[in-house]
């Protein structure tokens, strides 16, 4: 397929401000949690390190869910299915590893 075969770009592409904001917040929370997990005292340090790992693991999967819902709503079913398939792989990985 040549570059000329693509459809006309949607006028709203790239305007994912909510997702950008959410990712920014997750980044700063992750950075703060990692810092406290590195230098914090006792149980606070343990808790912060756990929060950090949770943010690092949870954010990309949350982004996948967000994109899947967005593409369902905007009539882009093929890629919504792709996102769902990827989430299924992750769920199977978790169940296999933790079983």
């Amino acid at each position: 397929m040549s570059v000329h075969d693509g459809p006309a770009p949607h006028p709203l592409v790239g305007r994912q401000r909510l997702l950008v904001a959410a990712l920014q917040i997750a980044s700063w929370v992750g950075l703060a949690a990692a810092f406290v997990g590195l230098v914090g005292p006792g149980e606070v340090r343990d808790l912060a390190a756990g929060v950090f790992v949770g943010v690092v693991v949870g954010t990309p999967f949350g982004r996948l869910v967000w994109l899947m819902v967005r593409w369902i709503r905007r009539g882009d079913p093929r890629f919504a299915v792709a996102a769902g398939a990827l989430l299924t792989v992750v769920a199977l990985a978790a169940s296999t590893a933790w079983w």
Binding site: M1, S2, V3, D5, G6, P7, P9, H10, V13, G14, Q16, L19, V20, A21, L23, Q24, A26, S27, G30, L31, A33, A34, F35, V36, G37, L38, R45, D46, A48, A49, G50, F52, V53, V55, V56, V57, G58, T59, P60, F61, R63, L64, L67, R74, D76, R78, F79, A82, A83, A85, L86, V89, V90, L92, A93, A94, T96, A97, W98
Partner: protein
């Protein structure tokens, strides 16, 4: 930071260095994966805002990559380290040489696309990238072959904890004809998912030390912040050369780490 700029993840440098310093490869892998996931997390807002990352392409290539990474992570505890490092060195060297030798511009600027925002096109694996010479439309080529190669990248990630981005970016660029900056940003997004998935498996195996993860993640996030901003300002040819030279250096480090 270097990993985000090149789209290959800093762990491909960190893990061989840790192994060289005497860390067991099985212990180094989770640290590397945390670094990759952290760098991807911190680079994500800027890359998404700039329109460089192609999320649809990233998710499509990530399906075989994550599936392979899960299988590889599950079997990694049974794999000897020496042969794996040699294989990694060969892959990195090949990717670096290919990147330096092929200077062909797959996607020339097209002035008629000047009104288009730099973003992916809904429903396709194509989009427009705002290059220095004007808007550059592109569309992913040879997708099935690219997906097979991405499974290889996932295998590398699951076995070694290096993320696999150093395979994904050249594959997107040379096989799928994605502009290098889009390939690097999309690889960072995709590799973040690979790393998170691999980390879930490593955690299930009891291989994740939370405090080591926090230390590696702090550096990874800081590096990602800086790398994403630098990436947005560099010329594609510069990114390509930096990535290729880094890959050759990585190959040498992997051989030395034996």
């Amino acid at each position: 930071m270097a990993g985000t700029i090149g789209g290959f993840g800093g762990a491909v440098l960190l893990v061989p260095v840790l192994v060289t310093l005497g860390v067991d490869p099985l212990d180094a892998a989770p640290i590397g994966v945390v670094t990759v996931a952290s760098g991807a997390l911190s680079a994500a807002p800027n890359q998404l805002r700039s329109g460089l990352v192609h999320q649809r392409l990233g998710i499509v290539v990530e399906i075989p990559a994550s599936a392979a990474a899960v299988v590889a992570a599950l079997v990694s505890v049974h794999v000897p380290g020496t042969g794996l490092r040699v294989a990694l060195a060969a892959v990195a060297l090949a990717a670096g040489v290919v990147g330096l030798s092929k200077a062909a511009l797959h996607n020339p600027p097209r002035p008629e696309f000047v009104a288009e925002p730099p973003a992916e096109w809904p429903g396709t694996l194509g989009g427009t990238y705002s290059g220095p010479g004007g808007p550059v439309p592109y569309h992913a080529r040879r997708v099935p072959l690219g997906l097979v190669a991405m499974a290889g990248a996932g295998t590398v990630s699951g076995l070694t904890g290096t993320g696999g981005g150093f395979v994904k970016t050249p594959v997107m660029r040379e096989i799928m004809w994605i502009p290098v900056k889009v390939a690097a940003a999309t690889s960072t997004f995709s590799t973040g998912i690979t790393a998170a998935t691999t980390l879930v498996v490593f955690a299930g195996q009891g291989r994740v030390d939370l405090h080591q993860a926090a230390a590696a993640g702090f550096g990874g996030i800081l590096g990602g912040f800086v790398g994403a901003r630098v990436q947005d300002r560099l010329a594609p040819a510069t990114v390509r050369r930096v990535l290729s030279v880094a890959l050759i250096v990585i190959a040498a480090v992997l051989v030395v780490a034996r």
